[in-house]
Structure formats: structure tokens, C-alpha cells
Amino acid sequence: MGYDLLDHTGDIGIKVRADNVKGIFQEAARALFDIITDLAKIEVHLDWEIAVEGSGLEELMVAWLTELLYLHEVEEVLFCDFTLWEIDERSVRGVARGEKFDAGRHVIKTAVKAITYHQLEIQEKDGRWYAQIIFDV
């Protein structure tokens, strides 16, 4: 996958790489669920349309991941696949695919409490996109 774990004492951080800005949002979402569960065990049985707003890429990233975390917790779903349809400076629209949590088949590796703004970075360098995000666990 296109991410590395950051060794943060209290929490968990990720460094994500992708070819474009949509990719960075998709990869960050996959990394989030890779931390929560075993992605290989999730089948695609449902899809969820997601639309969030914010000002700037950093706020949008937190809003996008927070929405996925919210759905995971309240609807008890696990996602493994993400497509971003549209992104601009103020909004993100896309779809997350996965299935309902099944205690018999799925594992929860780490419960993530929240997506933080701490040392949050999203940048483009030489045509590649990089993001750093720290989760509260």
C-alpha cells in the first residue's frame, strides 16, 4: 500500500503517497481501514456516497476520514475500497465500498478515536502527492 506508519508514542500516524490529489484521499482512507482491520477480509457488498465540505485540502482530508470513521462506528461498516469523484478547495465527493462488520469474520486491530490536525500536511512535490496524518487511538 502507498503508506508508512509513523512512530508516534501516544497515537498512530501515517505518511501517504499518491500520483494525484484524488489518490492521496483514497490512499489515506485505505490506510485508516488497514489500521482498523484486515483489509483482505472485507468484501464489497455495499457502497456509501460521501460528500463533505471544508476549507482547504487539510480540513477536507480530516472531514473525509472523520466521516468514514463515523459511518464505521455508527453503521458498523468496514470499508476497503474508495473512489473520489470530485474534489475542489471546498468539497469532496466520492464513494466508499465495503460491508457490515461481522464479528465472526472480521478483526478489529486498533480502534481509532479521531483524525487530528496535529502536524497535518498535504503537499505536492515533483508531480507526486504526499500527506501526513495523525490519528488519535
Binding site: 501516544g10 455508527v74 486491530k109 480502534a111 479521531a114 487530528t116 496535529h118 497535518l120 488519535d136
Partner: protein, 484 residues
């Protein structure tokens, strides 16, 4: 990572280190640690975070850090900062996502040897009766909207009203289990939804219920006043406001990012976003935070009731024999309006304690009547393999740290490192060989929470005692633990 800023440190005495004011800092930082703990502290970015907190407007006294300080987000974990009511700010990042995460301690009428052979049964039954881990909740506790509003307004008082525990429990909870001025209208539908099925659940990560015993008594007189004696069985509950609190924090941070911009507050880290205490945004955060704090008080109260029921079921004893009385319940992620003397003058301040515990001295009006002579009990849980401590608050803490002290051991290993370290080891059996029976909803939690992942809480408490910002009363050792 972000650019490394080097932080200057000046050793004041064996337990105090000053971070002198420079650049945008409005005050000095002060860290409580000895040489050894400082070695660990320097390895992460927590000192930089102490410095960053000192940038915030209206800060009064030092930007403080307790000896269990470690790298958080925005504020360090183990950070304490007070802000002037008129000129200061309130910051959701200074409270954290798990609003009113806290600890409570019960004593019992039991001795260690009476339950030694039955500890497995007790722990297994606790794991059944107290929902732990992701998505689990009890079918017999589901709230409608109106009930949920009452929980947010009344906290532990609501729980007792519903039959979870006794009225006298409330006397032994910080703020009597209810923070005033909680306004449920300021809690978003999303936060309510996340909290709906999570009242009366332990959660995962470092949250736990631990059955232990008094291993060591340091102050016979104070221990007697707290009703504690050697070999007596005790129970600790550690949990917070669950998804509801996380969402209140999330929602507030979004508001505060705008607010900080609007009020022209410069932030060295976005996670420190804040608003003036006197502003609409500041007041609304405090009223929403109070709701989450009350949810957490109710949560610990309900779990306490289930702990009592579990002991009754497994040991076949009545409440009058078990005597599972609440000693105290403390918050360690909270911001509160308090009156403190600063340079001889009384001022109303908003004291942020993020991974820090209130430690009020004897004769303070907010200390319960039966602890007026001893000072407020302070509960410091350690990791699941070593020990925990009961302390009392001191006059010195009141004068130096706005009546605050440490909250726990503090991690030294990231969760990832801990998992690597635990790989191939049978942690549950290792602990069982030491006489500690541990069960968790998820095996991954046990790996993340291995004792070596934490500082030795004894080192932390020794610094607190040495610096005079807390006084050791007893040491508790674990016999059985449930984890999320």
C-alpha cells in the same frame, strides 16, 4: 515529520525543568521530571508541545507538564495550562478527544486471599457484563432522545436516579458527577448518534476494569481515612465519554479553526485551535464539553453498578458484605473554571488538564466533607502488569500547578512498537505466571498494552512525591483485568 525545533531546558532542581520564554511564547514552560524520565521525554516531541501551549493568549503562570508527559496532538499528554477568564482562551485540543476520560476507585470488604482462587471467574463475568471493544453494548440499556439529553445534563446523577448505584456515590465524584451549564442543544446530531449505543461501554485501547489489592501502605493515617488497609481488595474503572466525546471534540475543532482565524489568534500547531473564553464559540465549547463530561460520569457510574452486580453473582455475597464503596472518581481530560490565587490575588481561570489529574489540598471547599483533613484522593493507574497508586492532593500542588498532578504512567513505546515487541509472546500467560488474570475483547489490545510499553508508574509517582505536588498513600497491585 515537521521541522525539528530545539527546545531549551534549564534544570531548576531534582524535579523541575524550565523552558525559558523565547520567540512567540507568552510565558515559561515548567516540566516536572527527574534526570531519568527526562531522558525518555526528550525522545519525542512533547517538550515542543509544552513550548507551543505557551504561545496561547491569556495563559496564566507556566505552561506545565507532569512527569508522565508524552507526545500528544496539540497539547502534550500530561499538560496543564490555565487561562484568564477575561483575556484567555479555551481549546478543545487542551482537553482531548476523550473528554472526561477518568478513573474511579472502589474499596471492598474483601481481603485478597478470599478472592484469589476465584479471580478467573470474576474477570470472565466482568467481561460478559461490561461491554468492551468495538460495537458491543448491553441490550438492556438503550436510550431515547429525551433520556439521552438528561444524561448529558445530569451525568452520574441521572445514572443513580435510574438505579445505577447509590446517592452517596455522588459525594465521591469530582464535581459530584455533574458539570453544570451543560447544554445538549450544542451537541451535534452526529455526536448524539455516536453516543446512543455507547453509554455503559468500556471502549478499547487503554481503558480497563481492574481488580486489585492494597500491596503497600505509605501513610497509615490517610489510608485509614480513605478506608484502605493492606491486602484489601479494590476495583479501578478507567474509561471516558466514548464516541460522543470524540465527536464533540471533532465538531468543536472545526469551529475553533475558524474562530482562531476570526479572533486573530496565531497558532503554532492547528490542533491548538481555540477561541476566547468570553466569545460565543468559547462558551459554546464549554457547554458542549460539559455534556460529554457528564456522559462520561454516567458511563463510569453505570459500569460501577455492573461491577458490584458481578461480584454479587460470582461470590454469592450481598452488598453489605462486599462493601464496594466508591473512594473517588477523577477526570483527567477536562477544562474547568476554577478560582486560584495568582501573585496573591484570586482569579477565575479556565484550567485545562489533558492527561493530568486535579489534586486539591486538605480544606479546599471542593474536596468532599470526609476528605477535608486528608486532601482530595488522586488515582494514578499504571500498566496492567505492575501497579497503580492512590495519592492525595497537596497545598504545594495548589500553589504551583493549579492543583494538578500526573495521571498515569505514560507510554514509552508506540502501539506499533509494542505490537512488534509482543509478537510471538504469550502475553496473557506471562501475566498469569505473575498472578494477573487478563482478558480482553481483542487480543490486539493486549499486545498494544504490554507493560513495557509504559513508563514505570512508580518512577512517575516518585517525582510527584519528591516535587511535593502529590502525596503517596497506598500502592495497588493487579489481580485481574478486563481490557477493551
Amino acid at each position: 515529520m515537521a521541522e525539528q525545533v530545539s527546545v531549551q531546558l534549564k534544570k531548576i532542581d531534582a524535579y523541575r525543568w524550565l523552558i525559558p520564554r523565547e520567540g512567540g511564547m507568552r510565558t515559561d514552560g515548567m516540566v516536572y521530571a527527574d534526570e531519568r524520565l527526562m531522558g525518555d521525554i526528550k525522545n519525542d516531541q512533547s517538550l515542543l508541545q509544552v513550548r507551543n501551549v505557551a504561545f496561547l493568549p491569556g495563559i496564566v503562570g507556566y505552561s506545565l507538564a507532569m512527569p508522565d508527559i508524552h507526545w500528544g496532538y496539540g497539547f502534550p499528554i500530561g499538560g496543564v495550562a490555565a487561562f484568564d477568564e477575561g483575556e484567555g482562551i479555551v481549546s478543545p485540543g487542551g482537553v482531548g478527544y476523550d473528554i472526561n476520560c477518568g478513573v474511579r476507585l472502589m474499596r471492598s470488604g474483601l481481603e485478597r486471599k478470599e478472592i484469589q482462587a476465584k479471580i478467573g471467574g470474576i474477570v470472565d463475568a466482568l467481561l460478559v457484563n461490561i461491554p468492551s471493544g468495538v460495537g458491543s453494548h448491553r441490550k438492556d440499556l438503550k436510550l431515547n432522545k429525551e433520556q439521552q439529553r438528561k444524561v448529558l445534563q445530569k451525568g452520574a446523577q441521572w445514572a443513580v436516579d435510574q438505579g445505577y448505584g447509590q446517592w452517596k456515590d455522588l459525594e465521591h465524584i469530582e464535581e459530584k458527577g455533574r458539570i453544570p451549564n451543560a447544554d445538549p442543544d450544542l451537541v451535534s446530531p452526529k455526536a448524539l448518534e455516536r453516543g446512543r449505543a455507547q453509554l455503559g461501554t468500556l471502549g478499547s485501547g487503554n481503558h480497563f476494569v481492574e481488580v486489585g489489592y492494597v500491596a503497600e501502605v505509605y501513610d497509615e493515617g490517610v489510608a485509614r481515612d480513605l478506608g484502605l488497609a493492606k491486602d484489601q481488595v479494590t476495583v479501578i474503572v478507567h474509561t471516558g465519554s466514548r464516541g460522543l466525546g470524540h465527536q464533540v471534540c471533532d465538531d468543536s475543532i472545526r469551529v475553533m479553526l475558524q474562530a482562531a482565524h476570526k479572533y486573530g489568534i496565531e497558532l503554532p500547531d492547528k490542533q491548538l485551535c481555540c477561541a476566547p473564553l468570553a466569545s460565543k464559540e468559547g462558551k459554546e465549547y464549554l457547554a458542549a464539553m460539559a455534556c460529554a463530561a457528564n456522559f462520561a460520569f454516567a458511563n463510569r457510574q453505570i459500569i460501577t453498578h455492573w461491577v458490584r452486580e458481578t461480584f454479587e453473582q460470582v461470590l454469592r455475597m450481598g452488598p453489605s458484605t462486599l462493601k464496594l464503596d466508591l473512594i473517588y472518581d477523577v477526570c483527567h481530560n477536562i477544562a474547568k473554571m476554577e478560582v486560584h490565587k495568582v501573585d496573591g490575588k484570586e482569579r477565575r481561570l479556565c484550567v485545562h488538564r489533558k492527561g493530568a489529574t486535579r489534586a486539591f489540598p486538605p480544606h479546599h471547599p471542593d474536596v468532599p466533607a470526609d476528605y477535608q483533613e486528608t486532601g482530595q484522593p488522586v488515582l494514578i493507574p499504571g500498566d496492567m502488569g505492575r501497579c497503580s497508586y492512590v495519592l492525595v492532593g497537596t497545598q504545594r500542588a495548589y500553589e504551583e500547578t493549579f492543583g494538578s498532578t500526573c495521571h498515569g504512567a505514560g507510554r514509552v513505546m508506540s502501539r506499533h512498537q509494542a505490537k512488534k515487541n509482543a509478537m510471538g509472546r504469550a502475553i496473557t500467560q506471562e501475566l498469569e505466571a505473575k498472578g494477573i488474570y487478563v482478558r480482553a475483547a481483542s487480543q490486539a489490545t493486549i499486545a498494544e498494552e504490554i507493560p513495557e510499553a509504559y513508563k514505570d508508574v512508580s518512577d512517575v509517582v516518585d517525582v510527584v512525591q519528591g516535587a511535593g505536588i502529590g502525596k503517596k498513600v497506598v500502592q495497588l497491585k493487579p489481580m485481574g483485568v478486563i481490557k477493551g
